[in-house]
């Protein structure tokens, strides 16, 4: 791995969290508008912080492990970072929330597409554990 190393690390973060959406059944990718609203302020604020850190010399990037593509002085990898890590955080939060709800719900646990993990209730209805509005 050379210049793509930082980007590959970000790709790994996306891949490793995919089961949270598609196996556990967090509804994050399926709430694109809410996701955009949640990530945008963080993206802006932390890109500005990154800019300050670069300009003030708090940190630099190793040319060996980044593509060299930059927006101004900010490597594109950093911009990707400020999208991917908040996304992973939301996925984790939703997956934890769903697992807590499932743990409190009776019934046989099974996987059902596209809901993810659900509880089968005795009356034949499936409890998605998706909570209200899911």
């Amino acid at each position: 791995m050379g210049h793509e190393q930082y980007l590959l690390l970000m790709a790994a973060c996306v891949v490793i969290t995919l089961p949270l959406e598609f196996v556990v059944g967090a509804r994050v990718y399926r709430s694109p508008r809410r996701l955009l609203i949640a990530v945008l302020p963080t993206f802006v604020a932390f890109t500005l912080w990154d800019l300050a850190g670069i300009v003030r010399g708090h940190w630099t990037y190793n040319d060996r492990y980044v593509t060299g593509l930059r927006l101004g002085v900010i490597p594109v990898e950093e911009l990707v970072f400020f999208l991917v890590i908040p996304l992973c955080g939301v996925l984790t939060f939703e997956a934890v929330g769903k697992i807590i709800r499932l743990a409190r719900t009776p019934g046989r646990l099974r996987f059902r597409w596209p809901d993810g993990l659900v509880r089968d209730r005795a009356d034949g209805y499936a409890e998605t554990g998706g909570g209200r509005g899911a």
């Binding site: 190393q5 930082y6 690390l9 973060c13 809410r34 996701l35 609203i37 949640a38 990530v39 302020p41 963080t42 604020a45 932390f46 912080w49 300050a52 850190g53 003030r56 010399g57 708090h58 940190w59 630099t60 990037y61 190793n62 060996r64 492990y65 980044v66 400020f82 890590i85 908040p86 992973c88 955080g89 939301v90 984790t92 939060f93 934890v96 929330g97 807590i100 709800r101 909570g131 209200r132 509005g133």
Partner: protein
């Protein structure tokens, strides 16, 4: 105080203020949030550890601009404040952006 350290403390204070003064989601009182942050912390050690390892660093820090404390591995401790503030801000806004009924609050 080194600038990165000061900015990290300021960011943590700002995020707490966003929650307490504006968003008021109650996130800091929920087990769900703290479990999430424990998991995020674990994965941050792996990802940030890779980014900052001194044998082949992707990101290089000016020793004069942070506390100088690197733990665990070679991770500048300030990075954990950075990550904590970043994920917390996102989650607070995520909860605020909920479009369903208010009863669907933090929940746990």
């Amino acid at each position: 105080m080194p600038e990165y350290s000061a900015l990290t403390l300021a960011a943590l204070a700002a995020v707490v203020l966003v929650e307490v003064v504006w968003a008021r989601t109650g996130i800091f009182g929920s087990a769900r949030y703290w479990i999430t942050m424990a998991i995020v912390f674990g994965f941050q050690v792996l990802v940030d550890g890779w980014l900052t390892k001194l044998t082949a660093p992707i990101v290089q820090y000016d020793a004069a601009q942070f506390s100088g404390i690197r733990f665990p591995w070679d991770i500048p401790v300030e990075d954990f404040g950075f990550g904590f503030a970043m994920v917390t801000l996102t989650l607070v806004v995520w909860l605020r952006a909920r479009t369903t009924e208010p009863a669907d609050d933090v929940e746990t």
